[in-house]
Amino acid sequence: MATELPTRATNGGPKNATGEENFTVKTGLARMLKGGVIMDVVNAEQARIAEEAGAVAVMALERVPADIRAQGGVARMSDPKMIKEIMATVTIPVMAKARIGHFVECQILEAIGVDYIDESEVLTPADHAHHVEKHPFSVPFVCGCRNLGEALRRISEGAAMIRTKGEAGTGDVIEAVRHMRTVSAEIARAQNMSDPELRILAKEIQAPYDLLKETAKLGRLPVVNFAAGGIATPADAALMMQLGCDGVFVGSGIFKSGDASKRAKAIVQAVTHYNDAKVLAAVSEDLGEAMVGLNVSTMDAKDKMQGRGW
């Protein structure tokens, strides 16, 4: 991890009933996931494979992004029954996705007891302008971003963890890299600014000034930041780690590949030993077919999920 996340960094969220931020508890779980891999799974059997591979958490959803993309239609929150089966099967944290702005799906996921909610652009958005107000929930949220402004708007709404979006369901890492590099470059630029300049920047990128100022001071996002969207190989995962993210989400990349278990284990090893090219070489060997990729550069803008979210 390129830059440290100070142990007392908070986003200044509202106090709870006892006059204390419970944001520490929400961001705390994200910190425990650092250096790990969160894997998309569609049933209990896949969840067990992910757990055995060393995943730090699983994301329970009905269709992986590659299938949502192929099948089209409206993608919604998964059936609670299926999420509960996964929760009953594994002992690692279970995350689940809600549509952007769909706070009732979030209420349902909280009632089931999922450990984290992903307010995700992979599902079809439910609100054209609003994201969910996340601070009032007890369950923590992770949200996607393409740039610093988007990240800070989500944190301001209460996201306790950020993931750079990438382009889900493609197996093409270029967008994940673009978004990670964009966030890093914008933070680097902000670090060299005076307070008046930061106020202008805050307006430009539509981010709260206080959060922008804290980010500039820290030299990194004030919450844990994972990479997502297009990671398909151990090398992809290590690339994202070397670019400074705290861990990775792998969606379609595992269970749309030839040997899911072997690939999952290899990606887990790659995230731990991301700076050790010898380990990376060893775990990259003989993994079988990677997922069939979709080249993002030939995609129409309307087919991209990353533009969802405001």
């Binding site: 142990t7 067990r48 002992t91």
Partner: protein, 280 residues
Amino acid sequence: MGSAGRHMDITVGVLALQGAFNEHVQLLRVAAKILEAKDIVNRTWVFREIRTEAELNSCDALIIPGGESTAISLVAQRSGMMEPLRDFVKVQRKPTWGTCAGLILLAEAANQTKKGGQELIGGLDVRVNRNHFGRQIESFQADLELPFLQQADGDELKPFRAIFIRAPIVEKLLKHVVGPQTDEEKVDATVVAPSRPIDHQVAKKIHLKGVEIMGTLPGRAAAIKEDETKKLDAEAGDIIAVRQTNVFGTSFHPELTGDPRIHVWWLEQVVEAVEERKNP
């Protein structure tokens, strides 16, 4: 660095296979500054992230951080680290501290593990109950009275604000046995650590004691659990910090607070242990 002080260099590793290892490094640095201010001995602290056996072998003491204990355990096995860790903790008996996931890995027995169980390092004769309080929405903060933080100068002891995240507790103290905890193996859904006898030379300097309770969480279980049996247990409080000779475990996360007191205390224990080991 002068040669006079060199013999006092102490290397503390933080296992960096997965989890909140960097947070420990940050608080160790804060703790070292506090110790420097009150220490008269010339000492250089080295804090490093540990991912390989060679890195582990350079350490005088080790922290196993919070994270997902199943992930840390599996990555340790696949990285060839499980046996070196058992050697470090149990055979060489070097000072080790585990927080949350680290406490689970240092336990000789654990329950509520994943299907098929999980590999443990061991070193603490206790049985831990994983995810004792439940899922993330049951995670919480609480003030703890930790008597071991009482300083000799007698200042009033301030409570330690502790963060519990999907935390385990110590549900049973076990008698130390020669060999593995075979009685525990018979307990339903419980895994035990393999036995590794202490090195003969090390055993001459370190007298392995029983497990001491270093902290409890009073009343919590009574407040949140409905069923009567749990209520009875709660009278005594849940055990959330233990020590056995120089292996220490906490079920909460001091590394997520800005409070370095436990890190300061632990580094003082490390100094004592390293000095004892060096003296003939």
